[in-house]
Symmetry: D2
């Protein structure tokens, strides 16, 4: 199952060349990741961090920017889970504009307790919705 989040490329995302500055694309991916939690985990990303004190620092991120994204572009960010370990997982992102893939990316996040940043096992209720969005990569 793929989780889809619709977003808009904002004025503040665009650089003097008129196209989205690439660190801003990673911001968009993270917003999609937050929405994935909010919509699928049974709780919210803010509560997981603020109340459960569990965090998701990125340990690896990679992206290919295939087509320039411009201010005003409406994009769909598609998320799947391509690796699901004991204390980390990797999400894959596709950024589409009118069904054209403009960027692909993946981000591996550790799962840690925020006090001390020590790895913790992915809680079962998160494992469930992450598995539901598992994508087998050829």
């Amino acid at each position: 199952m793929r989780h889809l989040v619709r977003q808009t490329i904002r004025f503040s995302d665009a650089d003097p060349a008129g196209i989205a500055f690439y660190p801003r694309i990673f911001d968009h991916l993270h917003e999609a990741f937050e929405d994935f939690f909010d919509n699928c985990s049974g709780t919210t990303y803010a509560k997981v961090l603020g109340e459960e004190r569990i965090g998701f620092p990125a340990v690896h991120a990679t992206a290919e920017f295939l087509k320039p994204l411009r201010h005003g572009d409406v994009i769909d960010v598609e998320i799947t889970v391509v690796e699901l370990g004991q204390t980390s997982f990797r999400c894959r992102y596709r950024v589409l504009r009118d069904r054209e893939i403009c960027a692909t990316a993946s981000c591996t996040t550790a799962v840690v307790h925020l006090d001390g940043l020590k790895p913790v096992n992915i809680p079962e209720r998160f494992r469930k919705f992450l598995e539901e969005h598992h994508e087998v990569v050829a």
Copy 2:
């Protein structure tokens, strides 16, 4: 030859977990990239874009975040050039804090004319300083 840029992790880089949010690390790498141009190219990054209308959109970026960076950390961003093509090049970054590598990254940038975003050959005077910072990767 390696180009070194000293930076500070800012309050605005740090997230509620107290560590640098990973898209902000890419912002720091880009600042180092701008300084690399300003210090080594014989011109400035702003003039290259604003006057020559040549731009450097990222086509691929990847990073490993090995150690969390915190608000107040002083870091050295080390840049080398690991690939130098006709119309694109790839820089490699190492982010050090007290000589400890906290992140490594690389970013491939196309070289384009800003009006139309068509690839252009890397101008000779840029090729020169990029070659001077070439690093052979084993």
Copy 3:
């Protein structure tokens, strides 16, 4: 008439103190301003800039931050137009969370042609929707 835009305080908006960093609030106000154009002007903010080459640089901005906003907060940004000049206008913003006012702000924007940044008269079709959202301030 008031224009309302619902937003969420994002992870990236929040600082190590767990509350929204104040420049990020101005980002939220600008997003609401963009949506105001997209929803009410008959065109989009991106087209006005990209095609008509008309821009809206801020010349004055002021804000009072009455209550801290936290990651995960859902806010309603309310926009009205409190001054409507020949070549500039001033919007007033109220940021509400569950009907509690958390911030008030105003921003005066010049209306300029993007090539040269010279002031231009507010086009009639913009004047119309701006007038419809006029608020008389006591």
Copy 4:
């Protein structure tokens, strides 16, 4: 006494119109505020927050943007303290480019304990350097 911080308008500060997006100016002012602490307080802004758990949330901010700032501009941000209360103070900023004032701003910050955000008296050692930078406004 005025505290001066030299900065550069970055690629990421500039918008599709080629000029600094106004929320980014507030980011620059905050960086100058951090440097003011780092250079004058006898400690660092990061330690005050991270170790002493004292924070400085903005309660009021205002700015006039007199001249557009562009990517590559070198600016001097001048800070003085124009009000010094029991649990809050107000800084005044002037942004200069080649001695021309491009923006003026002021920001009132509360002084709070980060756990609970309750106001605290400005510690004596901070009061000292703030007083040294006091500017009487006519």
